[in-house]
């Protein structure tokens, strides 16, 4: 974690769907270079918040800033250009395109070759294409999907599709990567290698915003955590602080916690570290 100012500022976001208040006045800041976790019970509004940050839906009030630039109100493709990339809770790939091409589509904002150049296939265009292709290969390598580069994305095994989605998100060289439940449906060893990958991302300077149900993963991985419950931010802080917070324990267990355990215990020992609590 660096000492620089926040990369992402979420300010007073509210969003209602019909009569349901999905988010009410949520504010927090994601520091530069952090892995920032967003947790909460089902229906807490995590994914809605994700959709607001990535420009997929517009909030009723409030807004997000990326390093001082306002994201809210910009069309989706602009948000990507400004440096926010995401993955989805339900994998969304271009199934009929190859894994490599999926990554190359993700690079769209970074290449400039115009329509005319593309038709004429100028040297610059060909050089750029070759460079992008090499880079896409490197990204596949990084998430260990390289062996499947030429297969249609839809034919990849589930765990690899998730990793491919991360590679595609990274392809736009984002400043902030938003991962929506990347470990969903993964087994223990897949989850372990995923968390290695996330640590590697952070070490390379990418800030990560992470929604995850696997509390153990979140607590072990994140520098800071925000907890949502029924659309409201009920706690924010380091994993140790959050784990001690009575409001958090109540939200998860539905009962007042009389004996919140000290955070000095190993993560697996705390109430929130119990598998299946999420």
């Amino acid at each position: 974690m660096s000492t620089a100012g926040p990369l992402l500022t979420v300010q007073g976001i509210s969003k209602a769907f019909g009569g349901v208040k999905a988010l009410s006045g949520v504010s927090f800041e994601v520091p530069q270079g952090a892995v920032y976790g967003l947790i909460g019970p089902n229906g807490a509004g995590k994914t809605t918040l994700f959709n607001v940050v990535t420009g997929f839906i517009q909030p009723d009030s409030g807004g997000c800033m990326l390093d001082g630039t306002r994201l809210t109100g910009e069309p989706v493709h602009r948000v990507v250009q400004l440096g926010v990339a995401r993955t989805f809770q339900n994998i969304r790939l271009f199934h009929q395109m190859s894994a490599l091409e999926n990554v190359m589509v993700g690079m769209h904002t970074r290449s400039r070759a115009g329509a005319l150049g593309a038709v004429l296939r100028t040297r610059r265009v060909r050089d750029e294409e070759a460079r992008l292709e090499a880079e896409a290969h490197a990204l596949l390598e990084r998430v260990s999907v390289a062996a499947w580069a030429d297969h249609p994305a839809g034919s990849l095994p589930y765990g690899l599709q998730r990793r491919l989605e991360i590679a595609r998100a990274l392809a736009s060289s984002p400043r902030l990567v938003a991962l929506d439940e990347p470990a969903a449906g993964m087994n223990a060893s897949e989850t372990a290698s995923l968390s290695e990958l996330i640590v590697k991302l952070r070490d390379d300077g990418t800030t990560v915003l992470l929604i995850e149900h696997d509390v153990r993963l979140v607590m072990g991985l994140c520098d800071r955590v925000a907890v949502l419950d029924r659309g409201e931010l009920i706690a924010e802080g380091t994993p140790a602080q959050v784990q001690r917070d009575p409001a958090v324990i109540e939200a998860y267990l539905g009962a007042p916690a009389e004996d919140a355990r000290p955070a000095s215990h190993a993560e697996g020992d705390t109430a929130l570290g119990l598998p299946g609590v999420a």
């Binding site: 493709h77 395109m97 993700g106």
Partner: protein, 295 residues
């Protein structure tokens, strides 16, 4: 020859369908406008002083941008506001735009046939046992190279990748940083440029153009696109060529087959018989697996 023109026009239908799920029935009219603009330019320059190829190129040079502009305008004014409307609404709008363009052309160029000056070589050559003219060879060669270039564009470039991504999921493409509106507009412009070329070819080949010429041509190219599998670019090419061959052979042999009862002026019957047969027996077309996926 005829088939390659169908193929060029069918590409416009199929690209727009692939990306928007819309049958742009005004596409035939774009072909017509392309022909009309080219004729106007050629007549304005006159065939006196300059060599024929230069006059022709001037017509092409004006007609293609004009059609691209028209395609962009159609997309922006007629179709974009209806992007989220039911398909039927957009379809009816397309038919409406087709009628509007026909009538505008009728007002601008009149109801009579405009004749295209004979700028292209028309003396017959023997070629592999058939008789062809220079114009026919030129048309086929040009079509084949345009189709090759289009395939390269779609499969090998950034723009093509963005187009394919948009056709699979516009929302997801947007999340990848693709400006979806821009891609859709470029698709219309690309299709319209091909339509302009097809319009000039027809005008040059038959030596005439007419405000109503886009209607039948559009329907046949649509048939070709359906035959190939609508939404599938290679399918449109194949469908166009196949339809051209079916029509020519059909027109040539219909007299013999019916004992002289029906003549070659029944050639249009074949295109629509093909359309009906395809829709009944193989609605996804020859190469149309993707349409099956979509449903």
């Amino acid at each position: 020859m005829l088939g390659s023109i169908y193929a060029l026009v069918a590409l416009g239908y199929t690209m727009v369908y692939g990306i928007l799920g819309l049958i742009n029935f005004a596409h035939g009219e774009v072909v017509m406008i392309g022909a009309m603009v080219a004729i106007s330019v050629v007549l304005a320059i006159g065939t006196g002083g300059l060599p024929a190829p230069i006059v022709l190129l001037a017509g092409v040079a004006v007609s293609i941008p004009a059609c691209m502009l028209l395609g962009a305008l159609l997309e922006r004014v007629a179709y974009r506001p209806l992007r989220d409307a039911p398909r039927l609404t957009a379809l009816i709008t397309a038919i409406g735009m087709s009628i509007v363009l026909q009538n505008l052309a009728m007002i601008a160029w009149g109801r009579q046939y405009l004749s295209f000056p004979p700028l292209l070589p028309n003396e017959p050559h023997a070629f592999l046992g058939a008789t062809v003219t220079g114009t026919q060879l030129l048309i086929v060669a040009l079509t084949v190279s345009l189709m090759g270039a289009l395939l390269l564009l779609i499969n090998r470039t950034r723009l093509g990748r963005a187009m394919r991504a948009t056709s699979q999921s516009p929302a997801l493409a947007g999340l990848m940083g693709v400006d979806v509106n821009r891609i859709i507009m470029l698709t219309f412009m690309l299709g319209s440029a091909l339509a302009a070329v097809a319009g000039i070819m027809i005008a040059g080949y038959y030596g005439q153009a007419h405000y109503y010429m886009g209607f039948m041509l559009g329907l046949k190219a649509f048939t070709a696109a359906v035959l190939g599998g609508i939404g599938n670019v290679s399918g449109a090419m194949l469908g166009g060529l196949a339809l051209g061959v079916i029509e020519s052979l059909g027109a040539g042999y219909i007299g013999a087959l019916t004992g002289g009862f029906l003549g070659s002026h029944y050639q249009d019957v074949f295109a629509f018989a093909v359309l009906i047969l395809v829709l009944v027996f193989r609605p996804s077309g020859l190469l149309g697996e993707r349409v099956a996926d979509r449903a």
